[in-house]
């Protein structure tokens, strides 16, 4: 039996020291995903370092954006006045996820690092390259209705389940990290890796590196933004497709656009092809459709998830239409 040690960090330095970059150590946020995975014995850490006491502030940056501590609870972020007023897509994305109880526990850092809900990842009798590297993938030819159509590889088709991250990538959020070699900041779009041949390596984080904060740049037109989540039941379900979008329209012309996709990709998906296709064009349904087509052009369906391509297109069109 693996003895589990629990330590509570008081600041980032003590967190990193306690963690020590060991492969058997995990940072613990709200525990709403990590503890589930421990119960299922998919994660078997020998040490959890509780970082929920760190950086729970949301404050304005000099540039007019927000700096959000990694320990901020999902509920607090969704309800924050500035978030609701200036980044409604983020507030709505968070509120569309999980349940009130879970959002009260879950932290921003933990949400970013949550792991896939692929059924085969959870079943230790099944083959899974993410759980057991180079063992094979039973999802690719299995029951894959919930799986990804973008960013997939022959090794893995599992989706990243976060709603919050979809809004954050659309907002060009930057992740602040603290590691053994110092602090750095990288775009959130660069934090999660595509699975390629190594789906077990999910992020570019160095061993023991800690997410300390998320920074959202100033983006005035994000006041006109939304998050649309399509799922099989009305609440408490992961997205089949979700769209985070902000649109800057003047005189019927799209001046700028931000689009993120969830439920369809192996990482929180920034839909740059769609953005490129629509910026400078008239805000019409036909142009939105063309943008959606551009984004999904290289989507690769599996036996059970082909519907997500058309569903994603329709949801993009509908969401942009609502904002236009």
């Amino acid at each position: 039996m693996i003895e589990l040690r629990y330590e509570k960090a008081v600041d980032p330095a003590s967190a990193m020291q306690l963690h020590g970059g060991r492969g058997t150590a995990r940072y613990l946020g709200g525990g709403t995903n990590l503890v589930d995975l421990m119960r299922e014995e998919i994660e078997q850490p020998g040490l959890v370092v509780d970082v929920t006491g760190l950086s729970g502030d949301i404050r304005e940056t000099d540039g007019g954006g927000l700096l959000i501590g990694a320990g901020v609870k999902n509920t607090a972020l969704a309800e924050h006045r500035a978030v609701r007023a200036r980044y409604p897509l983020l507030s709505r994305a968070i509120l569309s996820g999980a349940s009130g109880q879970i959002r009260n526990m879950a932290t921003v850092g933990g949400n970013i690092l949550q792991r896939t809900r692929c059924y085969y990842f959870y079943d230790d009798a099944a083959r899974c390259n993410k759980r057991s590297p180079e063992s094979g993938c039973d999802a690719i030819d299995g029951f894959n209705r919930i799986h990804a159509v973008l960013g997939t590889s022959p090794a893995c088709v599992a989706t990243h389940p976060s709603d919050m991250c979809v809004a954050l990538v659309a907002l060009d959020a930057v992740v602040h990290l603290q590691g053994a070699s110092g602090a750095r900041a990288i775009p959130l779009t660069d934090l999660h890796r595509l699975p390629d041949g190594h789906p077990e390596i999910e992020t570019v984080l160095e061993p023991g590196e800690l997410i300390t904060a998320i920074e959202i740049p100033n983006l005035p037109f994000a006041a006109r933004s939304t998050y649309r989540k399509v799922r099989d039941r009305a609440s408490y379900a992961f997205a089949l497709v979700s769209v985070a979008a902000a649109l800057d329209v003047e005189h019927g012309i799209v001046r700028d656009a931000r689009i993120g996709l969830g439920g369809v990709a192996t990482k929180p998906w920034r839909a740059r092809a769609a953005e490129r296709a629509v910026v400078g064009k008239a805000a019409t349904e036909a142009n939105f459709r063309a943008a959606a087509e551009a984004e999904l052009e290289n989507a690769s369906p599996l036996s059970g998830n082909g519907f997500k391509i058309e569903l994603a297109k329709r949801t993009i069109v509908h969401t942009l239409g609502e904002l236009a």
Binding site: M1, I2, E40, E41, R117, Y119, Y120, Y122, D123, D124, A125, A126, D138, D141, G142, F143, R145, V230, R231, D232, R233, A234, S235, Y236, A237, F238, L240, V241, F307, E310, L311, R314, T315, V317, H318
Partner: protein, 736 residues
């Protein structure tokens, strides 16, 4: 008490307590967390060890070797039970596969070992160290592929005959001016109850006590004994509170047997719960079906031919999903056939889930009826009413004891505003939503099962009822208390009800919506015997004694009921047994289900807007508990219609989405508005209670009412459940 002639006026008819909307008498225990469930019986069993089940990692094949060395050496491990060391085990009458597999593996997640340790965490960690080497063999996991090999199941049992035929179905169908020939599918459903199977087993010498969560104590007592090879009188099952069953706890499952074996091996009590991920493949499920329905009618809308064939699969020795049976009774028509076929599938064993047969059967039949009505250009409520029958269509000499389906449909249509439905599908819009209304009929038979109880009267006038009947969240405690209070002329709070203990007289148990009518009839019988004893003790003539207001009255004498027990507790034991009234009459319950659904025109998402059920089900013993049963069933019907599916990985033979994150059932946000109406009905043919049941009726037809509402909204007919958005997305009406 033998019930073989229709009930006349009896003490229940006073309806001072019975028939009143009554809060659950055990409700405060549940809302305060003080009703102990099986896994929490620390009060009864001190210091149990913990068992953790190892489930098979293959669906079919054999265990070549099992390395237990590392697990045995792990901290805290007390014992490991496998088929190799468990001794010879039998199999219960109600089990298809063995509850402890090995070396042969019959299905995925079949228990193949139990690791017993001092703590749960130790047991779990050690279980992960059990290394099993399997040899897989090929199995049949795909119903569609196995369909052509399906055979008629053996006749008898609740399922009835595999084939029925009246008149010339083929000829009449071929000649019918309007006809439908369509195939429908329903997927595997899981009971997915909140409380998983859980047991604490404790041996005292050769006497075994199991605190468990089980709907049918008497069946299960026998099956525990049969499995362990011990006499039934050495087994005691205790199951006073049950956190949901839906048919999944009708039978002994691996938790109880493995706890008993573990406790024997460990030499101390052992508690076992099925881990949530095992709940879906280790236990039973509602089997998937393929159903072909053919209906022929004249231009006048009268059905001339109706045929229903159903295919399902199960492990060898298992039974079919009897999806065609309601079609034998629901509509008139001179030429008819039904056929049930069973294929061998190497999936976990199928068995009863709430409204077995009718739930999936009506999901298909009641879409077919909607399709026929449309072909005839007839309103679907009117089409159903036109084809109503007041007799068993296969045996017209048998009348229904009560049949108010037409009344259910008429009243439902009126209350729901059915006249506002636009027959042409896809024609009503509300912003981005396409709106539709659907209707379906529901039928579920009333099953008669003998049921016994013991009642005790003490000198304070308190009556205590003891029966092995169970309350699976349905309100049984309360209706039994109401029955005893009514019969003995007492207020509700003068009755104590004790349930779920195999040392009590055997009851009907909870299943097949038979629990309410039969168990209360058994309690009524015992109370009538107690009344005789009271009269005798007080020196009164039982024939002219009145029991009311806690008093026993005869002529001008009025004596406190408790006085009859002044010189010692009075105890009476009796039960209800039935003659052949269920052969003379067809006894069924009926419902009209109405649903309004909205479909997002862009994404195809389906959301229910409102639902109405009108039920005719005999006397309603407690309208509040009955309403709760029906709205819960309606919710389950929405799940079946729109989201519930245990997905089969047909390569490996297991249910893939085997937890509550993957197997979605409706949440509150899916169910905005539900209304239930019970018609006034008493059925003197059913029992002295004149009641029937509603727990399954509430589900029967709901799925099709949803499906028909979705069709009315979109114009896209989906015949394969669940109706998820991907099945109609590409065919939705284009936005304008």
């Amino acid at each position: 008490m033998k019930f073989d002639t229709p009930a006349t006026t009896n003490p229940i008819d006073r309806l001072k307590v019975v028939g009143k909307a009554t809060d659950r008498i055990e409700g405060p225990l549940k809302t305060t967390g003080t009703a102990p469930y099986a896994y929490e019986r620390h009060d009864a069993v001190a210091d149990p060890a913990y068992g953790y089940i190892v489930g098979a990692g293959i669906a079919k094949g054999r265990i070549v070797s099992m390395d237990l060395a590392a697990a045995r050496a792990a901290p805290g491990v007390i014992a490991i039970v496998t088929a190799a060391n468990a001794g010879k085990l039998g199999k219960g009458k109600f089990n298809t596969a063995k509850l402890l597999g090995g070396p042969e593996v019959d299905h995925y997640h079949q228990a193949i070992a139990l690791v017993v340790a001092g703590t749960f965490e130790q047991a779990r960690a050690a279980a992960a160290l059990v290394h099993v080497h399997y040899a897989r063999t090929r199995g049949n996991f795909d119903l569609a592929a196995a369909k052509s090999s399906a055979q008629p199941p053996k006749a008898g049992g609740i399922g009835g005959k595999p084939d029925t035929a009246v008149g010339d179905f083929a000829g009449a169908f071929a000649q019918a001016p309007v006809s439908l020939d369509a195939t429908y599918t329903t997927p595997v459903h899981s009971h997915a109850m909140m409380e998983p199977h859980a047991s604490i087993a404790s041996w005292n010498g050769d006497q075994l006590t199991i605190y468990t969560s089980n709907q049918m104590i008497n069946w299960s007592k026998g099956d525990v004994a049969a499995t362990l090879g011990i006499p039934a009188e050495k087994v005691r099952l205790i199951s006073p509170y049950i956190g949901g069953g839906f048919g999944g706890k009708l039978f002994v499952r691996a938790d109880a047997i493995m706890a008993a074996l573990g406790a024997k091996a460990a030499g101390r009590p052992v508690k076992v719960t099925l881990q949530r991920p095992l709940m879906f493949n280790n236990t039973t499920h509602r089997p998937a079906t393929i159903q072909r329905i053919r209906i022929g009618a004249g231009q006048d809308g009268r059905i001339t031919a109706i045929g229903h064939e159903g295919w399902s699969g199960d492990l060898p020795g298992g039974g079919p999903e009897t999806a065609v049976n309601q079609t034998r009774l629901l509509y008139a028509g001179p030429n008819r056939m039904t056929a049930t076929r069973l294929a061998v599938l190497d999936l976990p064993e199928g068995n009863a889930m709430r409204a077995p047969g009718e739930a999936p059967g009506l999901m298909a039949l009641e879409i077919a009826i909607d399709e026929m009505a449309e072909k005839l250009g007839m309103d679907p409520v009117r089409f159903r009413i036109l084809n109503d029958t007041q007799v068993d269509p296969e045996q017209p000499s048998r009348e229904f004891s009560q049949r108010q389906l037409v009344e259910c449909l008429r009243l439902g249509a009126e209350r729901f505003g059915w006249d506002k439905r636009v027959a042409k599908p896809g024609s009503v819009r509300d912003g981005r939503w396409l709106i539709g209304m659907g209707v379906a009929a529901g039928i579920r038979n009333n099953l008669l099962m003998k049921s016994a109880a013991r009642v005790r009267l003490d000198s304070h006038g308190i009556v205590t009822v003891e029966t092995d009947m169970t309350d699976i969240g349905t309100g049984t405690y309360t209706i039994i208390a109401q029955t005893a209070a009514e019969t003995m002329g007492l207020p509700l709070d003068s009755v104590i009800v004790k349930l779920g203990d195999s040392s009590f007289p055997a009851s009907a148990g909870s299943g097949g919506q038979w629990g309410a009518n039969n168990s209360t009839a058994g309690v009524y019988a015992a109370c009538m015997t107690l009344r005789d004893k009271v009269a005798q003790a007080l020196g009164l003539n039982a024939a002219d004694v009145d029991f009311a207001d806690g008093q026993v009255r005869s002529g001008n004498r009025s004596i406190a009921l408790g006085d009859a027990a002044r010189s010692g507790e009075l105890v009476a034991e009796d039960g209800i047994e039935y003659g052949d009234l269920d052969k003379t009459y067809q006894q069924s319950t009926f419902a009209g289900h109405f649903v309004e659904a909205a479909v997002d025109a862009a994404t195809g998402e389906i959301r229910i807007r409102r639902m109405l059920a009108v039920c005719a089900a005999g006397r309603i013993l407690n309208p509040k508990a009955a309403r709760s049963q029906v709205i819960g069933a309606m919710t389950m019907g929405v799940g079946a219609a729109l989201m519930e599916e245990l997905a089969v990985d047909t390569r490996f033979g297991f249910f893939v989405n085997h937890d509550l994150a993957g197997y979605e059932v409706p949440v509150h946000a899916d169910i905005p508005h539900q209304e239930v109406i019970f018609l006034d009905e008493e059925d003197p043919i059913s029992s002295p209670m004149k009641a029937k049941g509603v727990g399954e009726l509430g589900l029967c037809g709901v799925g099709a009412a949803v499906a028909n509402a979705v069709y009315n909204a979109t114009g896209v007919r989906v015949r394969d459940y669940p109706i998820t958005l991907d099945k109609h997305l590409g065919r939705l009406p284009t936005l304008t």
